[in-house]
Symmetry: C2
Amino acid sequence: MSIEEYADVTVVGAGLAGLVAARDVRRAGLSVIVVEARDRVGGRTWNRPMPGGWTIEAGGQYIGPTQDRLAALAEDVGVETFPTHHEGRTTWRGARVPETFELARPVLDELDRLAAQIPGEAPWRAERAGEWDAETLHTWLSRRVTEPTTMALLRLVFSAVLAAEAEELSLLHVLTYIRSAGSTSMLTDVAGGAQERRFSGGSHLLAIRLAERLSSPPGADGAGADGGGAVGGGGVRLDSPVRRIRHGRDGAVVEAAGRSITSRRVIVAVPVALGDRIGYEPGLPGRRQLHQRMATGVTIKIHCRYEEPFWRAAGRSGSALSPEEWVSAVFDDSPPDRGHGVLMGFVVADRARALARLPAGDRRSAVLGSLARYFGRQAMRPTHYAETDWSTEDWTHGCYGSNLPPGAWTRYGPALRESVGAIHWAGAETSAVWMNYMEGAVRSGERAAAEVVAAVAGVPGGAPGRPGGTTE
Amino acid sequence: MSIEEYADVTVVGAGLAGLVAARDVRRAGLSVIVVEARDRVGGRTWNRPMPGGWTIEAGGQYIGPTQDRLAALAEDVGVETFPTHHEGRTTWRGARVPETFELARPVLDELDRLAAQIPGEAPWRAERAGEWDAETLHTWLSRRVTEPTTMALLRLVFSAVLAAEAEELSLLHVLTYIRSAGSTSMLTDVAGGAQERRFSGGSHLLAIRLAERLSSPPGADGAGADGGGAVGGGGVRLDSPVRRIRHGRDGAVVEAAGRSITSRRVIVAVPVALGDRIGYEPGLPGRRQLHQRMATGVTIKIHCRYEEPFWRAAGRSGSALSPEEWVSAVFDDSPPDRGHGVLMGFVVADRARALARLPAGDRRSAVLGSLARYFGRQAMRPTHYAETDWSTEDWTHGCYGSNLPPGAWTRYGPALRESVGAIHWAGAETSAVWMNYMEGAVRSGERAAAEVVAAVAGVPGGAPGRPGGTTE
């Protein structure tokens, strides 16, 4: 019935975290098989081909300062970066937004100060962790801000960054998030922040090239040809959702659709909430409870293509922000080397939930109305229009990343990274640095691989050990 | 490879909700197949056989006033009830507990008053829903209670009832929960409350008898013989975890391990969080987000059997309560007609998480220490000892029921019950009355069956329609 395979290590999930983990495991001389539920690699990075012959970056796409492991990966696989277009004025909509930012600044500064008190690797050990985890961001903000437009702006900042509303978020989660990135401005800024640069050819190329290498013989690591769509052979088994992992101290059997893989260690590298779709034998009570609490954000990513980046002529950068619009945040997403212009925007949290309930025509009108109010009537007539609603993706559940409500970090925080028997955990959510970002994914893959290599090296028959590859 | 079957209706989950739904669907003249992941029916009701030849009720076990549909089911399948032993003094541990209850009373009364303002069928429509859903129970309590023992007692009440801590709970969730039961005292009381009576032979018999009937030919409904362990043939397919449901307006295909069932309607009757282990095509964004947010409680249920119910001779009822003990709440669980005595206790929420981290011997010592402080040294020497930790059960994830953190009821409340295309939802969590209780499960099954029967009757080829049963 099903194919039986063996590898030293099985990686569940062929997103950035899983593929980086597989790369490092293999570099340590161990054999590895990656299983992936989808028919493609890349997870939440995706060069999505659209009708009309254009491609959008439907998922994570930026790289910023301090995202060093992501930069190293890009260099490793030969993907270049270029700066996000940001020259010109930022466009605001709503009552006195720039002035309101000044009013909001002390609150953001206080959050930065509190965040700095958090031990990055163990937020639950912060001196005031219990207090911060007992309330929502909303109740905390409400004690500090009474002026409605300031509150609206602060809510906008966090909903745009976390894809969740202030009522849904533990204050400790928000502080942990800020801590993991460094500061609120690192999270929000283009120049000097998380949105500073983009990848030539799209961030998806990182995963595609990593997967191609896994298909090459071990040792040919640097020589993987860029085979385009031909990923998924060799080391990556696509269309293989994992149903169950039977595990113990010395090994595990991963049961996926159509195949069963025995290995010494397993790295589960999927969004935390997705980890709940797998059965574990024996059960993992702590981790299971974490899965149940960590919900993905809700984001609809919008792309509009125009004959040219018309906003630039008007002195606008293409960056826009408003607490009053369907599209909360907009960026210039034009290709660096071509004539046409692209505006990319995020509809998040409550606005995304409301937008998703509208029929397609009304959604488009709502989005284009927002863009027109930001940039003028020309924005109403894109040559191409695309929406990516990640909450409809069966193997993602939502984007950008995942968040914890009150009471969870202090109770289940350690379960985020602690291995259980032969099972190790990776994925952007599990990183103490740049949690939920591509940088976090890469770091988590590197960390999980190091754990596995150390564990296997420490036991008889350790690395480099059995002949690698499959026994298909 | 897999067996292909057809029925008018497929029910996912053979707990009380699913089996009641199947009964009602079949009574309406439609054919039905129930698929169940476990090797038994009953879900969170379970006559669990223990080493040493005794059986415990490991899950839900009580019936109280206003639980009318559960009472009707018991009568329907011929299961008797008897009163929970409650004569004698309640045992308190901790500083001035009875006096403290007087201090806590105004807070409980206020919660009852607020709960009464909630429209039971639509908590998200309460006038103050947004406000109540924006904060945790903890922050609300903290504004009202400063005296530490009063706070400890109030926290005990809600952790014992909801199996979660005040920091984890939306105030709106707590109010909705109180509203669904009627009042806080309905939730907490033995006499006149949710713990008033028990089922002769165990609550599990309800599910077992319902399943037996489904194995009989249609029409022989009242005549199902009590076949004991022989459930699971006929209408119930055991060991059949559902992987995927492909669905549309007019029907659905349920793909379970080893079988594929085509039907006009599907009733998913599993705990909400478990619904997330199924793939849906097309995706169900709103429901998926609800799944991710609704976490099961954490409970370890304890049973200690003694030669006799020795506490009764000391004038104690066997009911005990303490904010300071491992075992927060204890009840006399002795069989009505035999000489020996049984104490049943709940270790909940933070205490359960801490207890689960101890080795087995230490857990037992901790639990027996609690019982000894309640009832004296005799409690240290049970003839039989049992723990049931529901969070280790792969097809339950936790008990008693499920709870929502802040921000979820107002955003995803409607998704709890709203059918999507051919998929309908049942399960104790989905009931507006006695949510999370067996009564809620029964009501949800009846409601989902009525929805399905109305939907099928309303279309050409409606009920009673195609020849029922399987095409195995």
